[in-house]
Every structure is written in C-alpha cells, then in structure tokens.
Amino acid sequence: MMRRSTEVLVIGGGATGCGVLYDLAQRGFKCLLLERGGLSMGTSGRFHGLLHSGGRYVTNDPAAARECIEENMILRQTMPHCIENTGGLFVTTPGDPPDFADLFYRSCQQVGIPVEEIPVAEMLKREPLLNPGISRAFTVPDATVETWAACQSLVHSAAAYGAEALTYHEVVEVLVSQGKVTGVVAKNRVSGEQMTIECDMLVSATGAWGGQIARLAGCDLTIYAGKGTMIAMNYRMVNTVVNRCIPPHDGDILVPIGTVAVIGTTSVRVDDPDDYAIEDWEIKLMLDEGEKLVPTFKKFRPLRAWAGVRPLYQEKAAGADLREVTRAYTLLDHLPRDGVDNFITITGGKWATHRQMAERTVDLVCQKLGTERPCQTAFTELLAPEGRKFYSLGERLRKVEMGEWPGQVICECELVTRPQIEETLARRDENIINDLRRDLRLGMGPCQGGFCTYRAAGIMHEQKKLPARETNKALVDFLQERWKGSLPVLWGQQLRQTILDEGIYLGLLGIDKLPVDLTGLNQPRVAEVETEGYYKVGGGGS
C-alpha cells in the first residue's frame, strides 16, 4: 500500500475544508486534503448560494448575524471573482406580521448590518416581478457566491503554497495509537487502491458527516443533519436576493444564482446525511411561498429540486425545531473531550463564515502544535486567473460574443466551450460528466444536458481515448443523475423538455441499447419512488 505523510491532514472538501487547507498552507504547514467525492460535493455544493448579510439572523441570533456581516465584507475583498454583488432585499408580503419590519430594521442597525428602507415603488422598479402588494422593503448587502469556483480558488491558492487536495479519496480508517491520531487509511474511489497517510494533526471538516469520521477515531460525536430542500427555477426572475421579512421560515428566500433563481428552503431532521428524500409537501410549500414573493411563481418552470444537509451541533440537543439549534459553529478539540489527541473537528456554521471557521481551526492547530503563526486570510486575495472583479451574469455571454472565449459552444444553455471542457478533463483522472457540471455548469440549464451530454461524452471519449463502454457509462450515469434531480418537480414544460431529451437519447441515439458496464463508482443510484409522499433520492457521495 502506498504511504504518504504530511503535517496536517484535512478531511472534507467543502468550503470549510478548503478554507482550512488554504489557511494552513499560507501559514507554512505542509498539508493535504482528502475529499471522498468532488470538491464542494457535500453541503457546500447543495445550498442556494447565498452570501448572507446576516439579516436573516439579526433578531434571533445576533452573534451569528455579526459574524456574517463581518465575513461578508471580508470575502468581497478576498474572492470577488466568486461573488455576484446582487444586493439583497427584505420584504413584507401581505399576511406577514407588519411590526416585524421595524424590529428587523432596528436589529440590523444594532448588529451593524448596513440597512436602508426603500419605497415599494422603487423596489418594483428594481424588481418588476415582485408582488406589488408588498408593503415594506429594505436593502441589505446580501450577495451570491459560486461555491465551486470558491472551493477551486481556495485549493488553487493553497497549491501555490505547496498544498494538495485529493478528490475521490475516502477515509476508511483513522489510525489511533496510544490516544493520539497518527494518520488515516484512504481509498481511491476511482482506482480502488488504498493508501496510508501519516500526519501530525488531523482536522475533520466534514460537516454533517463529522460524527462518522469522529467515530472512526473512537470519539462519540453526534451531529444532527438538517435537510434543506431547494428548487431551481429556470427563469432568473429576480436579480436581487429576496428575503421575506419574517422570523426564519421555510421557503422564505429567493436567490438569483447564475442563470436560475433558487427558492428555498426547508428544515427537516434526517438520520443519515447520505440517505434522505425530497417530499411533496416541501415542493408544494416552496412553490406556494414563492407565489407570495412573485405572484405568478407557479407559472414559471421549475428545473430540478435537491437537498443539502446542514450540520447542526449543540452539546445539549434542542427540541424538535432544528432552527433553534444555533447556527454558530463549533470547534472541538478531541483531547479534552474524548481523550484523543491530534484530532480536531470543525462543524456547524454557514458558508458565509467558512473563512473565520478556518481561521479558528488553524489557530487551534497552531496552539496544539506549539507554534505561533498569525492568520492572513482576511487580507490576502485568492488567486483569480480571470480577473479580480465581481462575477457578473452577462460575463459569459460577453466573452463568447467578443471572441474572448473562443471555440465551440458545447453547452449552449450555459455557454460552456470545448476548450474549457478539454482543460477541465485534462486536470482530472475521473471521467465523470458530473464534475464537468460542477466546474463549468455544463448541463445546468433548461435542457438539463439534453444536448451537451452527448457532446461532452464524445469529447471525453476523443480526448481521453476511453473504451466505448466507459464513455457509454459516463453518459448514462449523467443522464440518470439529471433525471433523479428533476423528478420532484417534473411536470408541465420541464416534462416536455425531458421527453425531448428522452427522444434524443433513446429514440435517436439508442443509448438504452448500448453496452454499458454499470459496476463501480459510477453506478447510478436508483431512486426509489414511493407511492405516497416522497422521492428517495439519496444524498451526497456520487
């Protein structure tokens, strides 16, 4: 078995894990990150993309709100290229408690969140599709974040300091000797090979899966998984993040992210972060809530639904409503807690505070390793190969029009070019079209891969000289993945789209009759369709 060693080993390739890797590397540690899937495949890749201003927490969790606004301001400096500066709105819709607005406003001011009340007429000029019955509107500095770009950026910047991230590597064993963690055994999920990695310190940044990792190290840790379901609506009906001005509630945010608008979310406790279902009542609820913000909401076309699991940890578990469990993060040193040294777990929190979480984590690493190295992530910019300005919606179109992104447009919905695909494929060993989707947004538009899946498979086949069966597998796999996510919201125009895609792949291309080897990593996980209530779609992993 291959052996490697490093100083600090980080498990978890979400925003927190990548942030920890970057901070470690910047502070001069030799470090390595292991992620069992692709980067940001867990919760970080499954939320709505909102970079909080903190406005949602001002009334019930001011500490968390303050963290949010501080980090919001910092991230705009360190990773502007991953952020779209949409701004945010808090609005009071008919039926919402009218006095909450004033409480909200005062609380924002107390916490230090820049807030301004605007006339409803102005709000409507800015966002003509919003409910004209809205009675009050406030602006706050919400923004949206391209999570994959951010994780990539963090890892890329960490690599400049010598760090490394290994995707599709799953930790199967944690090696503990005399009360100290000495390393892990990791399995390469693509090749099946195992390797041993020795380390001086192990950091688990695995979010809702933190309990599983901790148990491997012999520590008893329970982290609740709070499932949140979201729907991506095909049309970007608002260009500002719109929040309901009410105490946190299901379906109270509408986020413009990339070319779509996401309505979210719910909060349901699930037992296994890898196995949960999207339920009819969630879909109905979110569409109904969406209707309150945008009165013709249900006439728009939903693309797909998915869920992420929030890690919710509190030493003493709260009652049934998971929203009461604090969203502030928790940093656990397992030595005093469980008697296991060289092992830290960072969990909880939200995307907006990942940098701060990483800072505190690496501070603890320093402390435990007996060295003093100050954190600089708040004042250093991440590497941004395409330039340092905020992401803008029209950028891709402009680049294609101006010829700055030459080459064939392969995914026409999202304007992904062939050179981009080839470059991404060259960086990877795995032949998974889903990774192309995450990196480049291929297949994320209205046709959900109807046209580009075939093209991407053809390109991958040519470039990597794959056996035909493997290409067929990649194609089938991706289509199944797209299918799975669309089922909860499949009706109307999206159903027509899907039938067109079926017509192409089966009627025209005949891929259902091609030889495909379905064993191994890319085996499609079968969604079990229950007759009542919900779609079991499986969770993270691949």
């Binding site: 009819d280 009542w281 879909i283 109905k284 030459p406 080459g407 064939q408 447009v409 392969i410 062939r418 046209f451 075939y454 093209r455 498979a457 053809g458 390109i459 086949h461 040519e462 056996p467 035909a468 069966r469 290409t471 067929n472 194609l475 089938v476 289509l479 199944q480 797209r482 299918w483 089922l487 499949l490 009706w491 109307g492 159903l495 027509r496 039938i499 067109l500 079926e502 017509g503 192409i504 089966l506 009627g507 025209l508 291309l509 005949g510 891929i511 259902d512 009759k513 091609l514 030889p515 499609p524 079968v526 969604a527 079990e528 369709v529 229950e530 007759t531 009542e532 209530g533 779609y535």
Partner: protein, 437 residues
C-alpha cells in the same frame, strides 16, 4: 358553410400525412399547427416496431411478424385500433407520397433496416430515405465514418467503437476531417442544417472531396453525419459518391434533424401542390362539440380568435411533447388534460405514478402512455367507450398508449392512424396518384 372539408390540427408526421392524403383525394384541407415539432427532432426514418419486448437489446428484423407479441404485451397500444392492414396501407401510401416529391423512402413492412445511430447503437427502422438506408448494418463490410471537428453534434470515434463492440458484422473506422471555411456560420458552431445548406455549394463539396481523397481506400462505404443538403440532397449525394468512388450514407444526428427537414419540406410541398392550406404558428384554442359532432374550432391569430368550420376534424397534436396533452401538478397531485376539446384523458393523478426510477427504464415511463382513448374508427371515446364526437378523429401520439420511445413505434402509429382516418373519411387511401382501397 365552410371553406374546408377537413381541418387537421398539428403538423407532425400524422397531421401532415393525413392532410396530404386528404388533399390529394380532392378534399379542401386546412392544417393548423403551433410551430414545427417532432418531425424535426427525430431521425427522419419511419419506425414501425424496433424492439420486442421493449427491454430487449436485440432489434426486431421483421416488424409485422412481431406485431401479435407486441400487442399482447401492450394491449392498449394504438396498433390495436389500426390493425395490421392500416399499418401496411399507411406505409405504402407514405412511400407513394414522398416518391412523388423526389424523396423516395426504401423498405417494406416486413423488414427493418438496421441503421447506425450517432452513438453507434443499432436503430431498427422500417422505411428510410436512401441516404440513410445505405448505412444498413446487415450489409456488413468496412465502413469509414467521417466527422468534422467543426460539427459538434457528431463523434465518429465513439460511433465506430460502439459499432465494433457489438459484433454486428461491420467493421467501422473513424476519420476526422477539417471542413473548408464555412461561409454562413461561425466556423465552430455550425448547425447541421446550416452545414447542409453549405454542402449544396459545388465548390464546397469539391474541397471536401479533395480532403478525403486517398483516405477512403479499402472501405466499402463512407458514412457522414446527415448534413448532405436539403432541397438539393440528391445532387449532393450523387456528387460525393462519384467524387469518392464509394457508396455514401448518412447518420442522423442531434436535432434539428436534416433528414427530418427534408421530409417536412417534401410534405409541405405536397400539400401546397394539392392546394391545401397551412397556417404555422396558429394555436388552436378550443373546439365546440354539439350533439355528438364538432361544429367548429377556434384558433388564435395575431389579434383575435378565428372560427373555422369543416365536415371533419383531425386532432394530431401529439402527446405530452407535442403539446396535445398538457400536464401540471400541485404537490403530489398531477393534472393531465387535453386542452382543445377537453377530451377524456387516460392518465394518473398520483404524480408519483408518472415515472419509473430509472431514466432508461426498459419498459418505459408511465407518462408516455397518457393520451385519449379511441375506438376502431379512431374517434375519441369516453370511459364507457362511447365516441365523444363522430366527426373528430385522432391521429398519432395524442392517442393513449402510444409510447413511441421504447418500442420505437411512433412513426408507424402516425402513418397507420392517418391511413385509417383517410379511409374512414373518403373510403379510399391515396396511392400512386390514383386511388387504391
């Protein structure tokens, strides 16, 4: 009093062929359609029965012989109402129609071509235009599959490898050739239809042939993506075959389909020559049924609905994809309806029962069978099997049970139902310019 004998709603294969045949038989027809649809998205061939059972990967070689088995497995399929006779009649009539337009379709009801798909799978089809039929895999031999890097909708290496893997008796090899400069398109993002227009230019073809010279040695035939001309397709084919000295065939690729477009143009031309009228872009909003007959339909013009009256009405609006059957949902409750006449639809209200867990579910997706039930005369019927309107006929995918994907039966259903309806209305079927019973 009406200007028209028959109004056909929907310009898919079913609608167009019905309109053409009725017009040829002397009827005054009006074809109304909300855009052009499925004809342009499919391969351009006529699929009658491709796989039986649907889960089989062995293609059917003789569709008619498998019909009985097929109907046993799928008793609700429209073939039950058309019967074998109408399938055969429909195919013959179709061949006569397109032959007259200089776009002959080769084949017969008792034999399937086995054509290569653009993914290298086997596409069993009953009638195919010559350029596609030339790719029949049962002919064996060595085939060179030519692709162009500028055309992103075609990957010869994948096609060849998949064909070779399946031990079909052919040996396929890929060749990528750079196109000469494409005058009408951004060089990189050429649509198959654009490329087809460009191939109609002799000097462009000459340069392509030049680039292929010497590379076709040792091969029995040369395959291209289906981009070899639209109106001047025959000329393009002849030129390439003589220039390369080899038989040439085409493989249909991603929509919009060029062979489908050729077929559409041929059928449109037919309808014009037979003095039929066509309005594309007009959405039919409703139809009135009074005393068991349709008395009128209304369609949207740019500013106001217009009324049309006729003796007979044919609904060929397609299934869910065609927009002939609409769907909506609220939570787990699904709603499925036929929007023009409000005909009773056979469907599930529990939306969970619309889908199978796997996208590639071999037996198909339940929603593919949603549609309106018909009787032997192809009138729509209610739950008690009584006809809803005696002068209303249903053709094609709008009929319940017409899942066209899995069995590969869609085109056969279109032609068979068209034939049955034309016979119902006129007592005749068009064939060869004279009437044949």
């Amino acid at each position: 009093m009406g200007r028209y004998d028959a109004v056909i709603i929907g310009a898919g294969l079913a609608g167009l062929v019905t309109a053409c045949q009725l017009a040829r038989l002397g009827q005054k027809v009006l074809l109304l359609a909300y855009g052009h649809g499925a004809l342009l998205l499919a391969s351009g061939c006529i699929d009658v029965l491709g796989f039986q059972p649907a889960s089989s990967i062995e293609p059917v070689t003789d569709p008619l012989s498998k019909l009985a088995d097929f109907l046993e497995e799928r008793p609700d399929h429209p073939y039950r109402f058309t019967g074998r006779d109408n399938i055969e009649a429909g195919l013959t009539a179709f061949q006569a129609l397109v032959q007259a337009q200089g776009l002959p379709y080769l084949g017969a009801a008792d034999r399937n071509w086995l054509l290569p798909s653009a993914a290298g799978a086997v596409h069993p089809t009953c009638l195919a235009p010559a350029s596609l039929a030339n790719g029949d895999l049962s002919r064996g031999g060595r085939m060179l599959i030519v692709g162009f890097p500028e055309l992103r909708d075609f990957y010869p290496a994948l096609i060849s490898q998949n064909l070779n893997e399946q031990a079909l008796g052919v040996r396929a090899e890929p060749l990528l050739v750079d196109l000469p400069p494409v005058p009408i398109s951004d060089d990189q993002n050429v649509l198959p239809v654009e490329l087809a227009y460009v191939f109609e230019r002799p000097d462009f073809r000459r340069q392509v042939i030049q680039r292929l010279k010497g590379q076709t040695r040792g091969y029995d035939r040369v395959g291209f993506p289906a981009v070899l001309g639209i109106k001047r397709h025959a000329e393009v084919m002849a030129d390439l075959e003589s220039g390369l000295g080899k038989p040439v065939f085409e493989i249909s690729t991603l929509p919009p389909s060029v062979p489908g477009r050729r077929l559409l143009e041929a059928l449109r031309q037919l309808l014009v020559e037979a003095d039929g009228r066509m309005i594309i872009g007009a959405q039919v909003v409703d139809g009135l049924i009074e005393a068991g007959r349709v008395s009128q339909i209304r369609f949207e013009s740019a500013n106001r609905p217009k009324v049309v009256k006729a003796e007979n009405y044919i609904l060929a609006t397609g299934g869910i994809y065609g927009g002939g059957i609409l769907t909506d949902a609220d939570g787990g409750i699904g709603r499925v309806w036929e929007p023009i006449f409000g005909l009773p639809v056979m469907a599930e209200t529990n939306r969970h029962r619309w889908f199978a867990p796997r996208f590639l579910e071999p037996t198909g997706q339940p929603f593919a069978n949603f549609g309106v039930r018909v009787n032997q005369q192809l009138n729509p019927v209610d739950e008690n099997k009584r006809p809803v309107a005696e002068n209303l006929y249903l053709a094609g995918g709008v009929i319940a049970g017409a899942d066209w994907t899995r069995g590969r039966t869609g085109d056969g259903v279109a032609l068979a139902t068209a034939a049955a309806i034309v016979k119902q209305i006129t007592g005749r079927i068009y064939a060869d310019g004279a009437s044949a019973g």
